[in-house]
């Protein structure tokens, strides 16, 4: 199924929950309503003609300093799905406000979401509601802040941790 057909399929099924769709450089993208994301992901996985059996990637983008989007929802959580059976891809997004900064977890749909969501929490400070074990993945627990946020200065130093010698 080509990208446009996938988006049509999602639009007929979810209607208003699909905020926006676009295709930039051949990558078809659907922006999904915050509350509907897990339903959309599960639908994408289980529907036989979509059959997105693999969550390739889950990440986020901070739009704090993006020209023209400084006021809008600050974060976008980005899901890249791939179907082994049909060899097609789609990208789903959820927009998240800074004061909410939480998205329902996809761990029940794909177990790999566990680590990927931990990384997004670690790097962006976006919580995943219902996540069984939302610890930092790459940084250490004592680390203060979320380094991939655009307002985290790249040259900030954090105190060394560990036993005092």
């Amino acid at each position: 199924m080509d990208g446009a057909a996938i988006l049509d399929r999602l639009r007929t099924r979810f209607g208003a929950a699909l905020v926006e769709t676009h295709a930039h450089q051949g990558d078809h993208t659907a922006v999904v309503e915050h509350a509907a994301i897990v339903d959309v992901l599960r639908f994408c996985r289980d529907e036989p003609d979509l059959a997105f059996d693999m969550l390739s990637d889950l990440t986020a983008v901070d739009f704090l300093k993006f020209p023209g989007r400084e006021d809008g929802p600050r974060f976008e959580v980005v899901y890249h799905l791939y179907s082994l059976r049909h060899n097609h891809r789609v990208r789903l997004k959820v927009r998240v406000d800074e004061d909410v900064a939480a998205v329902p977890t996809a761990v029940d749909v794909w177990p790999i979401a566990n680590w990927l969501e931990r990384e997004v929490w670690d790097m962006f400070g976006i919580r995943f509601e219902g996540h069984p074990d939302l610890r930092r993945l790459l940084m250490y627990e004592e680390f203060v802040g979320h380094p991939l946020r655009k307002d985290y200065p790249i040259n900030r130093r954090q105190p060394l941790i560990g036993p005092k010698i």
Binding site: Q25, D53, P67, H80, W115, L137
Partner: protein, 456 residues
């Protein structure tokens, strides 16, 4: 760990006696049997691993944050350090992601070069993986043989890029330089030696009783679970799924070369070993086929006319003695000492917004100089239109994806690397739970964790 005494740690006393008290064993972050900095906290019942918690991040060095600081091409050296065993694939995958964002196409010859160099890197990666993990099982000879073979291939890489590991050879819109003189013959020799090594290793390992006992049925993951964990590459193919980005979404020259996607059914460590051994042969086959059919043919460096030493050429240009210089055919090394103009066009996209002009043009004409500055000055440089692109290529460990976002500026707004060895590491606890502590070592070896790309 607080309640266990040193005695218990050494002997595992009290465990496995039905008391229900598991022994906590912390393995790593620095452990001699693990290549890579990683910590595994295992709950042991006797020698059986009941539960394992994998901690990563010890090699985190803010790759994605650093990419946002410099221009688009400045991220290339950082990508070298993602998978430091096959850095060329990272270079090319990142460059291709930015090219997709820009909507430009590279030249045919460049595609072939990317294909050839990627496949040589893949062989290096598999050699390291198989060699290191068999060393951990006591087969030290295999390690030495395979590192010897890797050395032959790294010499090829050195010939082309000028470096062995931090190669920084890819560029947005092309590659740094064309292949050197006589490269095909060197490849032929190196592959012949590598094949001899692979043959020896096959005889040493594939039917080896000790090796088979430690590998067969160990670390297995079902096909469904492998897919659910998003695992790609040799681990997925060892579980019987013939998914290979080179076949599913052919990029570069992969649609024009012959190769087979090697698969196995068992999904255990032995199957992964067999897949990697098979893939090395296929990779060499791809590289040979691509070298035989590469457009542009061998590089003709015997230009007629005066040959000028590149350093002297540049000196004259700097002094303003440019009159007639552009008309002089020159002979430059295609690699390090300068750019050979006709060769340059063959490997780089003819897009002035992206590709630096050859040094002769930069020093020899005002247009070239302006073009050079427009790409180098801060605030100018490569400026893709605002948007986003995801490009997947087949890394040595699986699908290596780059998700790049541009705000229309001269530096990336966001660069995300989808590390191919993160999903298997996330599933590592599923592979080792219920097995012996000693089985952790071959399983961890078969996952081929590369700290650089896992922790970024």
């Amino acid at each position: 760990m607080a309640e266990t005494t040193r005695h218990e740690i050494m002997l595992g006393e009290g465990a496995g006696t039905g008391t229900g008290q598991d022994l906590k064993l912390g393995m790593g972050p620095a452990h001699p049997a693990m290549h890579g900095i990683i910590r595994i906290v295992a709950d042991l019942d006797g020698e059986i691993i009941r539960k394992a918690d994998v901690e990563i991040g010890y090699l985190h060095r803010a790759f994605e944050k650093d990419c946002e600081v410099g221009g688009w091409n400045n991220a290339i050296p950082y990508t070298d350090r993602l998978n430091y065993v096959s850095p060329l694939i990272n270079n090319f995958a990142y460059a291709s992601a930015v090219e997709k964002l820009l909507g430009i196409d590279v030249t045919e010859r460049c595609k072939y070069i990317r294909t050839i160099m990627s496949e040589i890197s893949r062989v290096c990666d598999h050699l390291t993986c198989v060699g290191a993990s068999s060393m951990e099982l006591g087969a030290f000879t295999v390690f030495l043989y395979m590192i010897k073979a890797r050395e032959f291939l790294w010499e090829l890489v050195e010939d082309v890029t000028g470096a062995r590991l931090t190669i920084s050879y890819g560029r947005v819109g092309g590659v740094k330089a064309d292949l050197p003189e006589g490269f095909e013959a060197k490849v032929r020799t190196a592959f012949k030696q590598t094949r001899e090594v692979l043959d020896e290793v096959h005889r040493l390992l594939t039917g080896n009783r000790i090796f088979m006992d430690r590998m067969i049925g160990v670390g297995a993951l079902s096909r469904e679970e492998t897919i659910a964990y998003g695992i790609t590459g040799p681990l997925l193919r060892a579980a019987g799924v013939p998914y290979d980005v080179r076949r599913a979404a052919p990029h570069w020259a992969y649609d024009r070369v012959d190769f087979e996607v090697v698969t196995q059914q068992a999904g255990d460590n032995y199957a992964r070993y067999l897949v990697r051994m098979g893939e090395m042969e296929q990779s060499m086959r791809i590289a040979e086929h691509a070298l035989a059919t590469i457009p542009g043919g061998p590089i003709n460096v015997d230009f007629e006319g005066r040959a000028i030493d590149p350093a002297a050429y540049v000196d004259q240009g700097k002094q303003g003695k440019t009159e007639g210089l552009l008309l002089v055919p020159i002979r430059l090394s295609p690699n390090l000492q300068g750019q050979n103009k006709p060769v340059y066009d063959r490997v780089n996209a003819g897009d002035k917004r992206v590709v630096l002009p050859p040094k002769e043009t930069t020093y020899g004409s005002i247009e070239g100089l302006m073009n050079h500055f427009m790409l180098i000055m801060e605030g100018y440089g490569i400026r893709p239109p605002a948007g986003e692109a995801y490009f997947a290529s087949e890394g040595a460990n699986g699908e290596l994806g780059f998700y790049v976002v541009s705000d229309g500026g001269d530096r990336p707004y966001r660069v995300r690397c989808r590390p191919p060895c993160l999903p298997p590491m996330a599933a590592l606890h599923r592979m080792v739970e219920g097995e012996m502590v000693a089985d952790l070592i071959p399983t961890f070896g078969s996952v081929n964790m590369i700290g650089g790309e896992l922790d970024r």
